[in-house]
Each structure stands twice: as structure tokens, then as C-alpha cells.
């Protein structure tokens, strides 16, 4: 047993070497390094480098309600075509109940309706047609809404100039955003908080009684002004053209009107816009954004070029943000921010510094303690402990894990717990040394006997860490990763590296007896 197998020494030493080499990029931390090797460094979590974590929820209820409104409009149109009078329409949470004056054509109406909305549940009882949003239909709405929202959010974030954002779906109706390094989370939240649904409508100036009674006739809609809630406009419900036909929008400055947003339509939009402005000279055209009228200028001449400007009391930032929103397109439904965690760069840097100090002091204390208790063996265990730290760092870098503040806590904790395996081995060796005198046999027995205990003890910790990863979120996952890697690395360093070091020490020091 005196001759330590060469292959084993080779394996141990090369793993240690790899561990140290791959820790280098993370230790000389250079954020902007282009070197292929130095790029393999630990990613810092948002809580350490600063940045924002946002969780957005798509307001699906709004969409469901909108769809019910669409049902009502369509059913009205169909029954008008069929010349059937509707007595009453009852909109409930999940379904629309339409009561017809007679039931003669109710089946035809149902069939025409079904042609338009495949998948909804339709039921006839006597003169009543019930149109129900069933689960499958809702799921279709939900899926397409999330997909569109993701795309729009991605565009808006890209346009805002944020570097390396992470945008992904989370659960059924949420979108998760991680924006490292952003300085002004409020601006991003503003950008995301708007639906940015832009439509152009012809204003009805003739029917003044409708406005007075605040009751829009069929096919019309009443919408307030952006600056004054009491100023209202009666508009055609049908939009002339909408934001989906825009190909470009940018902030611009107009000599007379101040800051504005200039826009350009695609061919289809330009045609529609040209036709409507030609036919409605003298009337007003309202620009509606997210349910309010921004401006409603008079059409003085036909606009056939397919471009124009939107004015309002914008400042430069508002105009350019509106342009960003228009370029990116409208969200299908409003997004609500349900969780935010933003950390400034200052706190992040403080946390890193504090974590480093805690780790170094913890390390030094544990090392001193080990030498006090176990002497030379303690010093050997300390070598393992330091290598252990290098291995954790290089593994974190290699798997591209993200280091968070709880992650640093995990590393510090691991420093304390990593010596456990060494302690178990040394205590066994101590016991064995009372039973016999052959130095190498004592050491061999010590390691062998401690092995199963070390495995049992560490596997339980690993189980806790893995479940923490499975059910935890964000920073907590960072903790479970460093804890797991720490536990795995400590098993390797204790069972292989300490083992190697102890054999080397005993061989070279030529010890004839063992006192621990």
C-alpha cells in the first residue's frame, strides 16, 4: 500500500489542475474580455451586478371580455342580415345570451355565427341563443395572446437599448424579464405598462345628442380626450386604419407643433388612409391610443403619401418612447407588473465585496482551527479546502451558472461544511491508530470506514439542495447550485485529494508511527 498508484496520482493532480485553471477567468474578473478563455467566467446574478427582474401578467380577462363584445357585434350584424329582431342581449361573465323576437331563423343565425367563430359552444333553447367561451376557446386566446405579448415585449426591450435581456414565458399567463445593468427601471416599466393600441377613427360631429346622453348608438363609440376626461368624442367604432399597418415611427420635431411622432404606413395602410381622407375632407380624424384620443385634427386635404405626424403635448422623451411603442406594435392585452426586484449597481458591488470578505475570513478561521486541532493533517485538509473553493468557482464558470448573493452564502457555508468529510476521516484514523501500529494500514482503514458515512451524510444534503433548486426561484436557486457543487467538490477533495496528500506526506516524511 506504500506505493500510491501512478494513475491515481495522475487523475487527482490533473483534476486539481483543471479546477485551478478554469477558476482563473472568474478570479481575474474582466467584464469586457474578448479572450475565448477568459470569457468562461461566472455570470453574476442581477442582485450582484445590478439590474431588474420583472414578472408580467397578461390580463387575459380583458381579452375574454373583448371577445364577448365581438360576439355581440357579430350576432347583431348577422341578425340584421337575416332580418330578425333581437329583444335582449345579456352579457355574463363567460357567455352571451341573445334573446330573439322569434325563433324561426335562430338555427341559421347559429350556423352563420359558427362559421365566424369555430370552436365556441353554441346552444339554442327556445328563442334564446347562448354563446359560451369554453375552456378550449379560452386556451386558444390565451396561447396566442402570450405569444404575441412575448414578441412585442421583446421588440420594445430591444428598441429601448437594453443589453442582453432575458425574456421568457413563465407559467400559463406570465412573462419573466431579466434586465441586467439597467439604470432606469421606471422607464422600462413605463414602456411595458402601455398596450400601445393605435387606431384612426372618423369623428361624428353631427349626432350631438348622443354625446350629451353619453350613449353611443350602434356602430359608434364614445372616447375621452387624453388631457381632459370631460371632453368626449363620438367616433365610428370601426377604425379606418390601425397601428398594425405602420412600418415606421420616429420622434420628430415640428416647428409649429413641437415634439411629434412621424409615421409611415405600409401599402395597404397608405391606400386605406388615402381613400378615407379623400372621402372625408372637412371632417375630423381622431388618433386613439389605448382608449383615449390623443389628437383629432381636421382633414384639410387628402393624404395619399402614406405618412404623417401625430402631435400632442409631448416632450422629447415621450415622443421618442411613443415611437418605440408604435414601432414595436400593440400588445394584445394589457400587462400588469406583478413582481419587481431591482438592484442598483452600488448595492451589487457592496454585496460582492462583503461576500468576499466573509468568505476569506471564514476560510482563514476554519484553516487556523483545523491546524490547531489536527496539526499537519489539518494543514493537508486546508490544501483540500482551498482546492475545493477553486473547483466550485471553476464549475460555476464552466456550467455557466449564475452567482447570486445567496449563492455566495452557499459558498461560505460550504467552506464550513467541506471540512466535515476530512474530519470524519481523521477521526476514524485516530480511532484506528489505537488498534494497530502499521501506519499505512491505519490510514487505509480510516478512509475506508469513513467512506459510507461521508456518502450518506452528503447525499442527504444534496437531496435538500436539489429540491431547493426544483421549487425555489431566482436567487434561491443560486444558493442551491453553489451548495450542491460545494458538496460534490468536497467529497472529491476529501476522498481523493486529502487521501493523496496524506499518503504523500507519510511516504516522504517516512513516518513510523501516527499521532493525530
Amino acid at each position: 500500500m506504500k506505493n500510491y498508484p501512478i494513475w491515481k496520482s495522475f487523475t487527482v493532480l490533473s483534476l486539481v489542475l483543471l479546477g485551478i485553471i478554469f477558476a482563473i477567468p472568474s478570479i481575474i474578473y474582466d467584464e469586457n474580455s474578448e479572450n475565448w478563455f477568459l470569457k468562461n467566467k461566472i455570470n453574476l446574478g442581477l442582485d450582484l451586478q445590478g439590474g431588474s427582474y420583472l414578472l408580467l401578467e397578461v390580463q387575459l380577462d380583458v381579452l375574454y371580455k373583448e371577445e364577448l363584445d365581438n360576439f355581440v357585434d357579430s350576432v347583431r350584424l348577422i341578425s340584421r342580415d337575416q332580418a330578425v329582431k333581437i329583444e335582449k342581449i345579456d352579457i355574463q361573465e363567460n357567455e352571451v345570451l341573445v334573446f330573439f323576437a322569434n325563433k324561426d331563423k335562430i338555427k341559421d343565425i347559429r350556423d352563420s355565427f359558427f362559421q365566424m367563430y369555430r370552436g365556441v359552444s353554441l346552444q339554442i333553447s327556445n328563442n334564446r341563443l347562448s354563446i359560451k367561451l369554453n375552456d378550449e376557446y379560452r386556451k386558444i386566446i390565451q396561447d396566442s395572446a402570450i405569444k404575441q405579448s412575448l414578441e412585442i415585449v421583446r421588440k420594445r426591450i430591444d428598441e429601448s437599448g437594453t443589453k442582453e435581456p432575458l425574456i421568457q414565458r413563465s407559467g400559463k399567463k406570465r412573462i419573466l424579464l431579466q434586465l441586467p445593468g439597467i439604470k432606469d427601471p421606471e422607464r422600462i416599466k413605463d414602456l411595458l405598462g402601455k398596450t400601445a393600441k393605435l387606431t384612426f377613427h372618423i369623428v361624428d360631429n353631427e349626432n350631438t345628442s348622443a354625446l350629451q346622453n353619453n350613449l353611443a348608438p350602434f356602430g359608434k363609440i364614445i372616447i375621452p380626450d387624453i388631457y381632459d376626461e370631460n371632453t368626449k368624442y363620438l367616433l365610428d367604432k370601426r377604425a379606418v386604419v390601425g397601428g398594425e399597418n405602420l412600418v415606421d415611427a420616429k420622434g420628430s420635431f415640428d416647428q409649429t407643433e413641437g415634439h411629434a411622432v412621424s409615421f409611415r404606413f405600409d401599402t395597404e395602410g397608405a391606400q386605406k388612409f388615402g381613400k378615407v381622407t379623400t372621402n372625408n375632407i372637412g371632417k375630423n380624424l381622431a388618433v386613439v391610443l389605448d382608449g383615449v384620443v390623443i389628437t383629432a385634427p381636421r382633414i384639410s386635404s387628402a393624404i395619399t403619401g402614406g405618412s404623417g405626424i401625430i402631435t400632442g403635448n409631448f416632450n422629447a422623451q415621450e415622443a421618442s418612447d411613443l415611437a418605440v411603442l408604435l414601432r414595436a406594435g400593440a400588445l394584445p392585452a394589457p400587462l400588469e407588473i406583478v413582481e419587481e426586484r431591482s438592484v442598483g449597481a452600488g448595492l451589487g458591488a457592496d454585496s460582492i465585496a462583503a461576500g468576499q470578505i466573509a468568505a476569506i475570513i471564514g476560510m482563514v478561521l476554519v484553516c487556523i482551527f483545523m491546524i490547531l486541532i489536527y496539526g499537519t493533517f489539518g494543514a493537508l485538509a486546508n490544501v483540500s479546502l482551498i482546492v475545493n473553493l477553486f473547483i466550485i468557482i471553476s464549475l460555476l464558470g464552466a456550467i455557466g451558472a449564475t452567482l447570486t448573493l445567496p449563492g455566495i452564502a452557499g459558498i461560505v457555508l460550504t467552506i464550513g461544511m467541506a471540512v466535515d468529510a476530512n474530519v470524519l476521516i481523521f477521526e476514524r484514523i485516530k480511532e484506528e491508530s489505537l488498534k494497530q501500529t502499521k501506519v499505512f494500514q491505519i490510514v487505509k482503514n480510516g478512509f475506508d470506514r469513513a467512506m459510507s458515512t461521508i456518502l450518506d451524510a452528503n447525499i442527504t444534503t444534496l437531496i435538500a439542495a436539489v429540491l431547493l433548486f426544483a421549487f425555489g426561484s431566482g436567487p434561491i436557486r443560486g444558493f442551491s447550485i453553489t451548495l450542491s457543487l460545494g458538496v460534490i467538490a468536497s467529497m472529491f477533495t476529501a476522498l481523493m485529494l486529502t487521501n493523496f496528500l496524506v499518503y504523500m506526506y507519510l511516504s516522504y516524511a517516512n513516518k513510523k508511527e501516527l499521532k493525530l
Binding site: 401578467e57 421606471e186 416599466k189 405598462g193 400588469e336 407588473i337 413582481e339 419587481e340 426586484r341 431591482s342 438592484v343 442598483g344 452600488g346 448595492l347 454585496s351 462583503a354 461576500g355 470578505i357 466573509a358 475570513i361 471564514g362 478561521l365 476554519v366 482551527f369 491546524i371 490547531l372 489536527y374 496539526g375 448573493l405 445567496p406 452564502a409 461560505v412 457555508l413 464550513g416 461544511m417 471540512v419 466535515d420 474530519v423 477521526e427 485516530k430 480511532e431 459510507s452 450518506d456 451524510a457 452528503n458 442527504t460 444534503t461 437531496i463 435538500a464 439542495a465 429540491l467 431547493l468 421549487f471 425555489g472 426561484s473 436567487p475 434561491i476 444558493f479 442551491s480 451548495l483
Partner: protein, 299 residues
Amino acid sequence: MFGLNKIIPVEPNINFLGLRRNFLIFSILAIFISIGLLSIKGLNLGIDFKGGTLIEVSTKNTSIGELREILSSSYSDVSLQEFGNENIILIRLQNKSNQESIETVNSVKNLIQEKVVEFRRSEFVGPTISSELLFRGFQAVSFALIAILIYIWLRFEWQFGFGAVVALTHDVLFTLGLLSILNVEFSLATIAAILTIAGYSINDTVVIFDRVRENLRKYKKLELVDLFNLSVNNTLSRTIMTSLTTLLALVSLFIFGGEVIRPFALTMIIGVIIGTYSSVFIAVPTLLIFKFRPQDEDD
């Protein structure tokens, strides 16, 4: 080298099991008090689980009173606290109406903009999220405990599994009780701390049980109480060493690791002490309930 290890004799012979009644009474009392505290006083839930808004700012030439005055005119339920040093202030707004939205963060920021050097951190947790986080935290702890137990059952006889459950439950309840008394903020990080304590406590228990199992095979004639005592004594220096090194690292984290991590470090320190205590004084004596030797059945 220094021979400090002689402080703990190589073969200590302390009659731990002889003291078991006293410690059992102590622990039962502690558990009852903990349960009482948890149901009456409860835990100091942070915004992770209660919802609300938290903003950390660094200020210059502004007293905490000034900020409080500005904010309390708009928010009745605002609380301010110095965080680490007098220039860093933590502002909390509770989510009483369940109606709180991200707007609060923005409007608070606007109100105190001029007094603030840097917004170090802002967190907002909506009411739906906080209840989800609580549920998931609970789920994580329960699954982890169950998984650990299954592992113990697979590796040991079921009596050991039972001893481990009792010790684990003891540790978790005792720790929660102390968190309640000390009014330590209960956050997502606390859940992580509790799970790690569970892992640590089991780790400690497993090492002793491992020795019990070994000694059961070795000393077939020994009285159970003596055998358990022997096992605890065999592993005593390891138990103490590992607790001490872990505590050294945690105390360093508590003192130097910064304000944000302090509640986590404190929870872990409490848990490690309780976990070590329970392995020796709760887990092992629990095995005495079973008045037989597990390997007798095999023979």
C-alpha cells in the same frame, strides 16, 4: 502538532443518555412554546410572503425623520429603518388593501427623489405572487423532508427513519419558534436556510446512526443504552468539530457578509446549534422507544 485535540479525549465516556429525560422535557417545552408563539405571535413575514413594497435608498444630509415625514403624508402604513449605517434607509410599505400595484414604487420614488443619492434596491411583490411564493416554499420544505426520509428509510431500518423525523421536526419547529421570538424577517432566503438546516441536521444524525448501526453489529451483548452512549461518544469529536467549523464560517458571514444576508446567516446559526443538539439528545434517545435490536430480526 499543538495537541489541542486532546481536549476531547479519544474515547470520551460521557453518559449522554443518562441526561435524556432532562433534555426531553426541555425540548418538549421548547416545542410547545414554539407552536404557541407561531400561532399567537406568528412570524415576521417579509414582502416575499406578505406582498408589498420595499425600497432601499442611500441618502446624504437627510435624517430618517425627514423622509418619514414626507412619506407618511401620502402613506399611512409606511415604515422606515436604518439599514447597516445611518445613510442607508429601508422603506417598507405593507400591502394592506391587496390593491397595491407597481405604481407605489414609482410614486414613492418621485416623492423622495430629491433627498436620495441612490436607489439601491426596489422590490415589489404583488398579492397573487406572495401567496404563490408561500405555497411553493411550503411545498419545497415538505418535499425535501419527505425525500430525505425516504433516503434514510432506504439506507437504514425504519426505526432510524422515525428517529430522524422526530429530530427534524423538532429542529424546524424550534428554529421557527426562535425566529418568532427574535422577530427575524421570514423571507425566501429563510426557506433556503431552513432546508439547509434540515440537510445539516440529518447529516449530523446520519453520522451518529451510522455508528449505532455499526456498533449493533459489533457489540451484540451490550445493553442498548450503553451502546447508544458509546456511539455518541465515538462520534462526539466529529460532531463538535464539524459544528464548530460550520459555525465559524456562518459567524463570519453574519458579521462581514452584509446587511441583506444577515437574517439568513442568523437563521443558519440557530439551526446548526439546534440540529447538533437534537442529533445527540433527541434523535438517539428516540431509538430507545424500540426495545429491540434491529438486527435481532435478521438473525
